[in-house]
């Protein structure tokens, strides 16, 4: 009897325990589900930050806070939405932004989009008609793509308005001309040094091997050889090599070395016609040189699949000794190398003569980027004038210095009227607060009134000197302001054919005949039309004077 009662009791207890356990489990599961949803929602807004929306919402928060403050102030600040490419690793802090807003009386909402995704974002913005009031391009190539949209009347023609703004009128007219479409001006530009390409290298390695900086292309080859074979870091192991390059034929090493071989810049004149650079023998000479360097192991063999970050890492981690690119990067490269190798000395060289003993280097058309004003977002002429008013203020020393250099004492100090950016342990602060806005500032030092830089780093002083010297040896792109509709439609595809062929030649997968075949293929797929259209535009522009 007792046994049965116990049995039944036990069974009941077990059942209750199971029921309770089941209830606890389901409660637990429900709570986890809820957390999961919350986490997903949080991640959603978090990942929006990666796409640039976070900055907007961040700025919007400070904006709404500010708006409620200034609602009590006499004038409601005009709000401007801006979309720009983000060249730094992280979003900038809003310290400078707030100061600029205060001083100019505008509310700025920046949408920072990572530089690598900028083309996609531009097209998405175009497709979804979600334009900001100020739209930055990324570079010359994206500007070309948008020329059709400009011709279709999507953007404000700002040329006639500039004379009403005292500071904007100071923008360099030649560079403005370079950005005109069909003779009309739609853009403001960000100035860039015309010819700042060269090489950044490990001077301590050079000194240890008792060598001199190369003055011609053969000496450069020998330098790369020495850096690979002669143990320049003195640790007894053959663990270094010469040149570190990446998967970019333009802003990597290729185009700069090509210009040292006197290859035309994008387009060159031959028998009165303009032809693309790859149709010139100097281009093939450059490819042969790279092939020689790579085959011998004096550069990273996997450079066609190496990203910019990895390329820099190879240098800053002490594996490579030469980095060919913008000499003005010497400071950041130095900042990243010194923590790993406190004895490293960074320097630059650029005057590398070609096989004939002459020196040339390629130039950009004076602007690194341009910005435009979409009619979809800027509804009236008054709106346009308000926005131009902000940019007019950007061109004053007060605001320009704020955006380029930051706060005196905090990010830089004045030395002989030049601004010396703080480095060392303050470098991070400067990078976080100021550097991104520097990329967004229009004009250049001469026109927007900001201080020239005082470079304490010898490499940077050397770079400044060299890039000024380079101005006398520039190869310009004669087709910089010319257009071809086929290029706007198929540019990417055509470009891919020739850059693929270039890489394949350097890797030894195709030979000279193969490269010529690629050129014929390029012509067949639309390149022939491009040549014709560019030359037509060239003749027209020559007649126009």
């Amino acid at each position: 009897m007792i046994g049965l009662k116990n049995f039944i009791l036990n069974r009941e207890v077990d059942r209750m325990a199971t029921a309770t356990r089941r209830k606890m489990l389901s409660l637990f599961a429900a709570v986890m589900l809820a957390f999961g949803l919350l986490a997903a929602c949080a991640k959603q807004s978090g990942s929006n930050a990666d796409a640039g929306g976070g900055a907007a919402s961040g700025a919007a928060e400070s904006g709404s806070g500010g708006a409620s403050e200034t609602a009590m102030a006499p004038k409601e600040p005009y709000k401007i939405t801006i979309m720009a490419p983000m060249k730094e690793k992280d979003l900038p802090s809003d310290k400078i932004l707030k100061e600029v807003e205060e001083k100019t009386g505008y509310k700025l909402e920046f949408q920072w989009v990572p530089d690598g995704n900028y083309e996609e974002k531009l097209n998405t913005v175009l497709a979804t008609n979600s334009f900001p009031q100020v739209l930055y391009m990324k570079n010359q190539a994206t500007f070309v793509q948008f020329k059709q949209a400009i011709r279709d009347g999507q953007f404000w023609e700002i040329g006639p308005y500039l004379k009403d703004f005292p500071n904007l009128s100071r923008l360099n007219p030649t560079i403005l001309d370079n950005t005109k479409v069909d003779g009309k001006l739609y853009t403001l530009y960000m100035g860039r040094d015309l010819a700042r390409q060269g090489a950044i290298y490990r001077k301590d390695w050079l000194d240890r091997l008792n060598l001199q900086p190369p003055t011609n292309i053969d000496e450069l080859f020998n330098l790369l050889k020495a850096f690979t074979e002669n143990d320049p870091d003195g640790n007894g192991k053959r663990d270094t090599f010469g040149l570190t390059d990446r998967n970019d034929l333009v802003y990597g090493a290729f185009k700069t070395v090509a210009s040292w071989f006197h290859t035309p810049n994008n387009w060159g004149e031959k028998d009165g016609q303009l032809l693309p650079e790859f149709m010139f023998p100097q281009y093939v000479q450059t490819m042969d040189w790279f092939k020689k360097v790579r085959d011998a192991g004096y550069m990273n063999k996997e450079f066609p699949v190496t990203s910019k970050n990895d390329q820099r890492n190879l240098f800053t981690s002490g594996k490579a000794g030469v980095y060919i690119g913008a000499m003005t990067d010497a400071k950041t490269i130095s900042d990243e190398t010194l923590p790993n190798f406190p004895d490293a000395v960074i320097d630059v060289f650029s005057r590398v003569n070609g096989p004939d003993g002459q020196y040339t280097t390629w130039s950009i058309p004076g602007y690194g980027n341009v910005l435009m004003f979409p009619k979809a977002a800027v509804k009236t002429e008054d709106d346009l004038k308000q926005i131009l008013g902000f940019f007019d203020q950007e061109m004053t020393p007060e605001i320009a210095n704020l955006m380029y250099w930051g706060n005196p004492g905090e990010h830089y100090e004045l030395k002989d009227g030049l601004a010396a950016e703080f480095g060392g342990d303050k470098a991070d602060l400067v990078a976080r607060d100021v550097r991104e806005y520097r990329n967004a500032l229009i004009g250049e030092h001469e026109t927007n009134g900001s201080y020239e830089g005082y470079d304490s780093l010898p490499a940077m002083q050397h770079a400044t000197q060299l890039k000024t010297e380079n101005l006398q040896y520039m190869i310009n792109d004669p087709a910089a302001a010319l257009d071809s509709p086929t290029l706007a439609q198929k540019g990417e595809q055509l470009q891919q054919i020739m850059s693929d062929a270039t890489y394949q030649y350097i890797l030894g997968k195709i030979d000279g005949a193969g490269f010529q075949a690629a050129i014929e293929n390029w012509k067949k797929q639309g390149g022939g039309d491009v040549i014709r259209e560019i030359n037509e535009a060239y003749q027209k522009s020559k007649q126009a004077g």
Binding site: N123, L126, T128, P304, V305, Y503, Q504, L507, N521, K524
Partner: protein, 300 residues
Amino acid sequence: MERARRIRRNKWLYLMILPGFLYFVLFKYIPMYGLVIAFQDYKPYKGIFGSEWVGFAQFSRLFHDPWFWEITRNTLVLFGLNIVFFFPVPIILALMLNEVRVQAFKRAIQTAVYIPYFMSWVIVVAISFVMLTVDNGIINNILTMTGHEKINFLLDVRWFRPLYILQNIWREAGWGTIIYLAAMAGTDPQLYEAARMDGAGRFRQMWHVTLPSIRNVIVIMLLLRMGSVLEVGFEHVYLLLNPTNRHVGEIFDTFMYTQGLLQGQFSYTTAIGFFRSLVGLGLVVCANAIARKFNEESLF
């Protein structure tokens, strides 16, 4: 009346399906109206109703594009490789795992093969890059240490397809294995007993009992795989593309990316996507009809 009462009786079930149903209607069916831009010369600022109608011009452009045949060939080859080499792997893995008696070991392996499924393609490709590079990658180091020549995996076009399949298997086989294992768990043990009494060894049992019992799951999975393979795969292939393997690697999806998002050719790429979806649909319908013919389970 009868139907209404049935709905009301199962109303919670219908409510549960509702979010999924809404998702498909909102995100898969309604956006289909956008296909119309494949027949236009779409300019975003003119909108759909303002853009010029060009009929089949974009499709004609597609068929005359010098890249078209290469892209079609590449897409179909990768698709074929997927079906032939990738598809059997989860089945084999599941069969093997099914034979394991030690539950802890079985579950450990199950989890281990399932985990890569949660890694994004970026991670998978990045790991492969680091391991396979000639500049001191692990695999090449092992090769040189055992006296072999270095193999240039990343820049040698002959390795593109093998790498693609191997990475696919590593990442996705685990997921299929789980499904097949679950199906195998439902096999009637009496069938195994009967087979054993008839003198069937392990392999015979697998062939005559296990496989046939999951035959309908295999067919459904094959049909689903066919439908999805033509669609998924952009990330994976895009990450693997480089100047040396483009002519075997460029598929519809990557081409659409270059043309559409980078070059802004919206109408053209919609036409391309439309065409690719038609091909995928054709494949699934054919496969489904064949399955029907053999009195197998089919999707519709």
